[in-house]
Symmetry: C2
Subunit: 334 residues, 2 copies
């Protein structure tokens, strides 16, 4: 891509920076950025590989929004304020139409967060997209995985299982009504980074993580980092009403066990999982009742069991194991 | 790579951070970093694609050092102090021996700069390596491409044409003595980021850039950004003595024109090109004479010609055009 890399960057990826913190954007050896005083920088890098993290049939617009949103979701989990992002774009050929749609998707996804694209690299090769998201947190106020305490309640934002249902739909394993399909496809390609929620809950929260690998896997990260165990009340998992309806009506080829197992293990939901102390519970519940945040209490933090940091599931106190049929994140190709 | 991504990261990419500015390193949703007061953050991302930016025969150690060094070179061009880096690693399979050698190369390359690996992503797919380098500069002191002024002298660090000769060697287009081969291969896989030089010259320099695309192409970037023209005295281009000797002796299959053309257009040298005002010339010459830096004056900055910002080459005042046989950066595959 070396010959026309410069014109390509100029044409598709150079926009006027929105923020005064961007001293120099795309176009020099480095971007020059100003980090506000008394704030700490937080950064996260995510890579999407064609055919693995999205189907080959995805549009350039969809690929861009998914790459952006999944990366920025990590900032949400820290309670951070998003600022800038960089883009590493490897693509087989410099197809102008493809690039035009990709950049349109990228800037559309970035707009609600006022994030500036400040640099990156474009290279020729198999389609791979790397986004690094940069944000800031007040000094020593970042939400982290290792701060859960015994007695905390466990909350999750939004709905669970959408990502896994969307994946099943895109892989033609299930069918759904047009309306539900639209919802699921949108959740897959444009999962909303829970930035606002992360910032609102930060003062009331011990530990937080974003759910990319699946509720159980990410709950386990909190358990391991905080050296505690978590108990999840499966009956309380928030399932989107349309998914729930379809399940009730026997549509989707989805049984209850499939819905719950995928909500527990499916991944790709990009909701926040967070823990709240007993003393902060009224404050968080008030935020929920006032509809300032959409979150559901789904469990609690317990002492570790036999030196093991576990995540246990139960329905009405009876241990529940997600069906192995639906376990774990399934990539498009092996 | 999702299943064993966590153990892979833990085993190969988690090291104790060297710097107090690293509040949280690998292992949470984001790294948390502290930018020193009154400093600006500079960041640069570079991607290497297997078979394109390095030959398929490269060892994991070599791939790692090249990915690291080429990315950090951009910090040098800003006169920055390097601090941290992130790694996006896409690889076909999680081969432990490969990963062990790769991480060994990565940390060996980072050690002289005391840079900490603070985050990234590992995914499964065609071998692609993205490194983002992060550093700091004193507020408003970053070297940039757009600050060259008419009358400035043009300097280059180190030697030119090593990268292109190395590429020709790796592509079996030339042969060389064992000693020269070793030197060239080392220059290709471990080009030394000119961090120390960038910091030393910063107070005396107008514009700077690192030479990754070739002297002429990168000089053109300075010309365009600064709205000036540059004149390069080809006879003054610094060629490594061993390359020069081999040329004199008719070895290498290299003629003078090939050497000069590749020094002008070859790329991959990762030296710094910088401009110095008349008034700072004695200071820079003193640095050179005292061997505090290795740099050579190779030209000057002139007014633009007919609204065109050009880079012109001359030998003893006679215009010189590099042979089109050796022009531009040649990737391993088309």
């Amino acid at each position: 891509m070396s010959l026309n890399e410069f014109s390509l960057i100029k044409q598709f990826f150079t926009r006027q920076a929105q923020q005064s913190s961007v001293i120099k954007s795309v176009g020099d050896d480095c971007a020059i950025l100003s980090v506000p005083h008394n704030q700490q920088l937080v950064v996260s890098m995510d890579t999407l590989v064609a055919g693995r993290h999205f189907p080959e049939s995805a549009t350039p617009y969809q690929i861009a929004t998914r790459a952006f949103c999944t990366s920025v979701s990590d900032l949400a989990a820290m309670g951070a304020t998003p600022l800038w992002f960089t883009l590493g774009l490897t693509l087989p050929s410099s197809d102008e139409q493809w690039l035009s749609q990709f950049s349109e998707g990228l800037f559309a996804a970035a707009k609600p967060f006022n994030m500036d694209l400040v640099g990156g690299d474009t290279t020729k090769g198999p389609l791979t997209i790397t986004v690094q998201a940069h944000g800031v947190v007040e000094k020593n106020c970042a939400l982290q995985r290792d701060a859960a305490q015994i007695g905390d309640r466990v909350f999750v934002s939004g709905y669970l299982g959408d990502g896994a249902a969307a994946l099943a739909l895109l892989q033609h394993k299930i069918t759904a009504s047009d309306e539900l399909s639209d919802y699921l496809v949108s959740r897959f390609y444009s999962p909303v980074p829970q930035i606002a929620l992360g910032q609102v809950i930060a003062p009331f929260t011990h530990a937080a993580i974003d759910i990319s690998d699946g509720l159980l896997a990410d709950a386990q990260h909190i358990a391991d980092a905080s050296q505690v165990s978590l108990v999840i009340d499966v009956d309380r998992l928030p399932i989107h009403p349309s998914l729930h309806d379809a399940m009730q009506k026997g549509m989707l080829g989805y049984e209850r066990d499939a819905i719950l197992s995928r909500a527990l293990t499916g991944g790709d939901d990009y909701q926040l999982l967070f823990t709240v102390s007993e003393s902060q519970l009224p404050a968080v519940n008030a935020l929920i009742e006032d509809k300032l945040i959409h979150a559901t209490e789904i469990g609690s933090v317990a002492a570790n069991t036999d030196e093991q940091y576990t995540v246990q599931c139960a329905i009405n106190g009876v241990p529940y194991s997600p069906s192995s049929l639906y376990r774990g994140y399934q990539h498009f190709t092996a």
